[in-house]
């Protein structure tokens, strides 16, 4: 047996108080695709970044092709033949493709010769792997799919024979993803070793040779893909049996609560994000918006929540809401009984340095029950917080703890408690269970369903198809800013939605 292409022994890494990796060991055979799965925050990216020399491990050894190798920085990793495509691309936005590719791998002190040499090499690589990109295009002018190609080309240009890809398909359409996997297949056939981090069990099952599962900073198992199944992997990931469906009675939709007509949103860069969108959400139903990240779902939620401006018409209980200018901000939305659980709780939903009790007022700090005269009634706020913490089982139930000191799931519970307890007519909820453990997922799902059952409208956005399918009553798929199609949740499946998500029009599917 040949030596493993990569062997990690006892890798540990802490970020301050967070133990991201704990004593991790793993072997990857040459010429294989090795998958790594695990929940958000399990430590996958950290582990790979250590292999690539981006972080330095606190403990542990790295062996490459049977040789103990010190990788103090990325330069050493590159020298050892490792290339990595990060979850968040590492490209210089105002440089051209060519400049990005030679950065750090120039020949000699002058740019001209390096650039012309790289241009030639790039042409060869493009031909060989069907990786066509315009070498003179600026990164900020090309799409994410293209940017990912640049990242792969960067690695190939440096003659990597071990390629790490961190969640490469999260931003790709299914067809772009298929093309990526064709390239990966070809690379594997050439004897290159590939590590693939992904959340998608389908990709693991279809394309990998072996798979490792991480949970809470530890490696829980490494198995041959052929010898396992999705349920088993899911169980390994979360540490217990996964309940994939939500218990709920069939919906009894009532009058329309939210009506969206011809909504358009243009972002700061002038790109149209939402295009002529029409959608209705009725009382007593949960409408799920599915789609690949970046197809306008976030902007839709933000417009509805009053975080950005748009054009078109939206009505709440029949009354039009302004989409720009006065009265279009989040405060006005809350005043008209729209609650919003944002997609990114740490960036938007919470002020991480505020105490829990301050966060419970966040967005509702104008509410009369929180005031006493000109000042804020902090005592009332704290009492309210204690009540909510109790009801939502926030742990620890300490109003004085800063938001950043709660775990992800408990942070989410604080946000959900704040929004749902306002008893809104419409709940906007984005990625409700991202990075939240399974117990909390069940709890949060239950709260959402309960709200629906009280006759409220819920608009759910999630990139997790499973969550969409199990929680919604009706599913709308967004692609390129438009609704590609709507389906009752119990009359569709992942396959059909996947096609819609790729922009294949509903009728054809």
């Amino acid at each position: 047996m040949t030596a493993p292409a990569i062997e990690l022994k006892g890798i540990s890494k802490a970020f301050g108080p967070v133990q991201a990796n704990k004593d991790i060991s793993i072997r990857v055979s040459p010429g294989t695709i090795h998958g790594i799965i695990g929940e958000n925050g399990a430590g996958k990216s950290t582990l790979m970044s250590i292999l690539y020399g981006f972080y330095k491990a606190d403990k542990g050894e790295i062996w490459i092709h049977g040789k103990r190798t010190e990788i103090p920085d990325s330069q050493a990793a590159i020298a050892a033949g490792i290339g990595m495509v990060f979850q968040h691309f590492k490209l210089v936005e105002n440089f051209t493709v060519l400049e990005n590719i030679i950065l750090g791998a120039e020949d000699g002190g002058l740019l001209k010769p390096s650039l012309s040499k790289a241009r030639k090499t790039l042409q060869e690589l493009a031909r060989e792997y069907e990786l066509n990109v315009d070498p003179d295009a600026r990164i900020d002018e090309i799409g994410v799919g293209m940017q990912q190609r640049v990242e792969i080309l960067k690695a190939l240009y440096r003659q990597a024979d071990i390629l790490i890809l961190d969640e490469p398909t999260g931003v790709l359409t299914p067809s772009e993803a298929d093309q990526l996997f064709r390239i990966l297949d070809r690379l594997r056939a050439e004897g290159k070793t590939i590590i693939l981090i992904t959340h998608k069990l389908r990709e693991i099952m279809e394309y990998t040779d072996t798979v490792s599962v991480m949970r809470r900073g530890q490696m829980t198992a490494t198995v041959k893909t052929a010898e396992t199944n999705p349920e088993h992997l899911a169980e390994l990931m979360v540490g217990r049996k996964v309940l994939l469906r939500v218990d709920k009675v069939p919906a009894a939709p009532g009058k329309p609560i939210l009506e969206i007509e011809n909504l358009n949103v243009v972002d700061e860069a002038g790109v149209a994000r939402v295009k002529n969108l029409n959608l209705t959400v009725r009382a007593g139903e949960i409408v799920g918006i599915a789609g690949v990240a970046g197809n306008g779902q976030s902007e839709l939620l933000e417009v509805l929540g009053g975080m950005r401006e748009g054009q078109g018409t939206i009505r709440l209980n029949g009354n039009p809401l302004p989409l720009s200018g006065k009265g279009s901000d989040a405060r006005a939305r809350r005043a008209s009984h729209v609650a919003h659980v944002p997609e990114d709780r740490q960036r938007e939903g919470l002020i991480m340095d505020f105490h829990a009790w301050e966060n419970v007022a966040f967005g509702y700090h104008h509410a009369s029950e929180y005031q006493s005269g000109l000042l804020m009634n902090n005592a009332a706020l704290r009492a309210d917080t204690e009540a909510k913490m109790e009801k939502f089982d926030v742990r620890p139930p300490d109003p004085w703890l800063a938001a950043k000191n709660f775990s992800g799931g408990n942070q989410q519970k604080i946000v959900v408690a704040r929004e749902i307890e306002r008893n809104p007519d419409l709940l906007l909820i984005g990625q409700p269970t991202r990075g939240v453990d399974i117990g909390a997922i069940e709890f949060i799902h239950k709260q959402i369903v309960e709200l629906r059952d009280q006759g409220k409208a819920v608009l759910l956005v999630s990139v997790e198809l499973e969550e969409i399918l199990s929680l919604s009553d009706r599913v709308a798929v967004m692609f390129d800013g438009m609704i590609m199609g709507e389906r009752p949740a119990d009359q569709t499946d992942e396959k059909e939605l996947g096609l819609l998500m790729a922009g294949v029009a509903g009728e054809a599917a």
């Binding site: 301050g16 330069q75 950065l103 120039e106």
Partner: protein, 322 residues
């Protein structure tokens, strides 16, 4: 309003006054292109002005003075690097501190060394950079128009002036024609890209900050040993900030920096020479001329005349691990 000879004179003093601005502006350009904001240009110049004058005064050798000035500026640059690169502190605060440090230390040391109320003794010849007469300058003086332009405007500056002007193409070439320049620009835009490409962010940024120190050092030495003959307290008189303004005005580009510095130099030259300028019935007070560079910069910053977009990673320490 102005006859030709006066015009030449004003332009001549524009060149002299633009020189320290230009050197400091290019200094800032290197630093900020690498993502390190530097509002401490003023302090570095001041420190260099003092040490160059002090050493030139004691040794009588202006080159030793220049060396000392540059060295002292490099020390402050290193301090800025330490604070903003190694310890990932706030670059603006570090710059503020450096300005104060220089303002205080120069007077303190000057008083200790020379007991002349915070100044150095006046420099005598040998201790100063003398004007250089370009070849044939005297011969062509009589030629109309071109003669004075060559002999008055172009000739007769100290070597540092020519050095400053040569630094412009050099900077442009380094930035856009070399590997170092590519990496430098990249580290100011996205240090993570540089890091993952296997190049040291810290090394690049220190290099940039040190080049900044070098150029500020020359600028300061020019002030004390060429433009003037010795150091007086606070002699930079806000030039570091005007250079910063010019840098923004130039949108962080070397050739534009030359233009901006010449413009600001011209404003200074005009303000120096004329108290109030009468344009028909309007009198432009000298204070307005003094403030004009700052006003122009604010206008540029406001984006009314083309938006000035700083390097993306500028001002942010590169933090990998929270």
């Amino acid at each position: 309003m102005m006859d030709f000879l006066t015009l030449i004179q004003v332009l001549d003093s524009t060149v002299r006054l633009a020189t320290p601005l230009l050197l400091a502006c290019l200094a800032g350009l290197f630093s900020e292109r690498a993502g390190i904001f530097d509002i401490g240009l003023e302090g570095k110049m001041l420190m260099a002005a003092f040490f160059s004058a002090a050493v030139a005064a004691t040794t009588g050798n202006v080159w030793l003075g220049l060396l000392a000035g540059v060295a002292s500026s490099l020390v402050l640059a290193g301090l800025h690097g330490l604070a903003s690169i190694t310890f990932r502190g706030n670059q603006l605060i570090s710059g503020v501190a450096i300005n104060f440090l220089a303002a205080g230390m120069t007077v303190l040391i000057a008083q200790d060394w020379f007991q002349q109320g915070g100044r150095t003794p006046s420099l005598i010849s040998g201790g100063r950079f003398e004007p250089i007469t370009l070849p044939f300058a005297n011969a062509v003086e009589g030629v109309p128009i071109l003669g004075p332009i060559y002999s008055e405007l172009l000739s007769g500056h100290s070597i540092l002036v020519y050095l400053a002007f040569l630094a412009v193409p050099a900077t442009a070439w380094i930035l856009f024609g070399t590997r170092f320049g590519l990496r430098l620009r990249a580290v100011g835009e996205n240090p993570a890209a540089v890091d993952t490409a296997g190049v040291s962010v810290v090394g690049l940024r220190y290099a940039a900050v040190m080049i900044c120190g070098l150029l500020c050092g020359i600028a300061g030495a020019y002030l004390a040993t060429a433009l003037q003959a010795g150091f007086v307290k606070d002699m930079t008189a806000g030039r570091g900030f005007i250079a910063l303004a010019a840098l923004i005005f130039a949108k962080w580009r070397p050739w534009h920096a030359l233009g901006a510095c010449l413009l600001f130099g011209l404003l200074q030259a005009v303000a120096l020479r004329f108290q109030n300028i009468e344009l028909g019935s309007i009198v432009i007070p000298v204070q307005f001329m003094d403030a004009l560079p700052y006003i122009l910069t604010v206008v540029i910053l406001a984006g009314f005349v083309g938006k000035a977009i700083p390097p993306k990673a500028g001002g942010e320490p590169y933090v990998k691990e929270r």
